[in-house]
Amino acid sequence: MLIDLSAVPLADLVEQDDSVLARALRRVTEEATRGEPIAGFNSAL
């Protein structure tokens, strides 16, 4: 489960380095990015 860091200033995130952040980073860079990045629509179908 991803933690909500949306209200954390970017500068704080740059300084922060702990296991909570590492877990969140893993979520957005590895787990949730498996698969194709592009979904598409072709109206000629």
Binding site: M1, L2, I3, D4, L5, S6, V8, L10, D12, L13, V14, Q16, V20, L21, A24, L25, R27, V28, T29, E31, A32, T33, R34, G35, E36, P37, I38, A39, G40, F41, N42, S43, A44, L45
Partner: protein, 406 residues
């Protein structure tokens, strides 16, 4: 640093699966995407010595996310605003930022004033229809859509569009034929963004599973690709359900069964996680009642034929019958017995475009499958394999014989 895990209630998650997310849910998804952007920006900032140009921009801008993913910097273009019924849609028409090529389609060159005016007119008219007749969908779109990137058209298509999981709220789209096409395309792509954000919070499919049939693609698709298609077409189907005219009725009739079939297929397989099962169950429950909506019989017949024809062509294109199975069929034919049950297997990918194959007399007129072969024998790849193995036997005879084993 105080932070809480993202959560959705069961009710909110079910509504999301049904393609009816609440404003609160959309807010959660937007915060999740903002979190993702911030984390990517953090990583980039820790890698580079100079302050990147995007550092001063709001980190929830989808194009900023693309810059962050690429580890680089950006310019600034024009906004389109459509207002109707007290609901406003504001999007950036992005035709210059070089990072826009990362949205998956070839960007169009910078727009001429006439092209820009076409986009503006289409958007205003599309928004009018959406707000007047599809307000919940319009509210979702207003909460999600931020950027439209014009792309070059595909000569073989009436219109193309795409969404990147790296750019929540951005849509790449060729110039719309009319406001109706723009409305349907934006609804479709908005769903992709919503599903991508959902996937950021919940694993919906087990990674690494097999590929299979998708009613919207010519190639074999992974389970998440099928779910993407079903979720996007759920919104298109709902849109067509409330639109007037025979063309809308045809699309509604076609996509309702395609969405229901895709969702049911996913639920019957092993690729969904428990969250994916809940999500897809809600999706199927949303579309299932629409299957009972009355549609003019001739329109329904054409919609069914279009779906059946797509499936038949997909099978011929992507499945092959192993030689030993063809030999068993040929032996049964010569022995005068009933055919053994045989079905195709996915062709092995060897790096070249599978759409170039196969060729053969059956494919010389693929439309023939729509009306004749498919209804009596769904495994069109088996028919094709046997017509090659028994070139002197008329195809209708082969088809009839194969049908005797179903």
């Amino acid at each position: 640093m105080i932070s809480r895990p993202f959560r959705l209630t069961d009710t909110a998650f079910t509504a999301l699966g049904a393609g009816r997310p609440s404003g609160e849910t959309l807010g959660t998804l937007r915060r999740a995407e903002r979190t993702r952007h911030l984390l990517l920006l953090r990583q980039t900032l820790r890698r580079v010595s100079d302050t990147p140009g995007w550092y001063a921009d709001p980190p929830d801008d989808p194009m900023t996310a693309l810059w962050a993913a690429a580890g680089q910097a950006s310019p600034s273009p024009q906004r389109l605003t459509a207002e109707s019924g007290g609901l406003t849609l504001t999007v950036r028409l992005e035709d210059s930022d070089p990072i826009r090529s990362r949205l998956g389609l070839t960007p169009a060159p910078p727009l001429t004033p006439a092209e820009r005016e076409h986009w503006r007119t289409c958007l205003e008219q599309a928004w009018e229809v959406l707000v007047r007749r599809h307000r919940p969908a319009a509210e979702t779109m207003a909460a999600v859509l931020r950027v439209i990137v014009p792309v070059l058209p595909d000569p073989s298509a009436e219109g193309i569009s795409a969404t990147s999981a790296e750019a929540f709220g951005a849509v790449a789209m060729s110039s719309p034929a009319d406001p109706d096409a723009l409305a349907a395309g934006l609804l479709h792509e908005t769903q992709h963004s919503v599903l991508n954000a959902t996937h950021l919070l919940f694993d919906l499919v087990v990674p690494g599973g097999p590929t299979g049939y998708s009613p919207w693609r010519d190639d074999p698709r992974p389970a998440f690709g099928v779910l993407h298609g079903a979720y996007a077409y759920l919104a298109v189907t709902r849109f067509r359900r409330a639109e007037p005219g025979r063309a809308a009725a045809f699309e509604f009739a076609r996509w309702r069964s395609a969405v229901a079939g895709a969702a049911a297929g996913l639920l019957a397989g092993d690729e969904l996680t428990p969250a994916g099962v809940r999500f897809t169950t809600a999706l199927l429950a949303e579309v299932e009642p629409w299957l009972a909506d009355p549609v003019e019989p001739e329109i329904q017949r054409r919609a069914d034929a279009a779906n059946a024809g797509h499936r038949a062509r997909w099978r011929v294109r992507n499945l092959t019958v192993p030689p030993e199975d063809v030999a068993r069929l040929v032996a049964a034919w010569h022995a005068g017995t009933t055919p053994p049950p045989v079905t195709g297997v996915l062709r092995e990918r060897d790096g070249h475009d599978e759409r170039d194959e196969p060729t053969g007399r059956a494919l010389a007129n693929p439309a023939r499958y729509d009306a004749t072969v498919l209804p009596s024998y769904p495994s069109s790849e088996v028919v094709l394999a046997l017509t090659h193995a028994l070139p002197d036997v008329p195809e209708n005879v082969i088809t009839e014989w194969l049908s005797s084993c179903t």
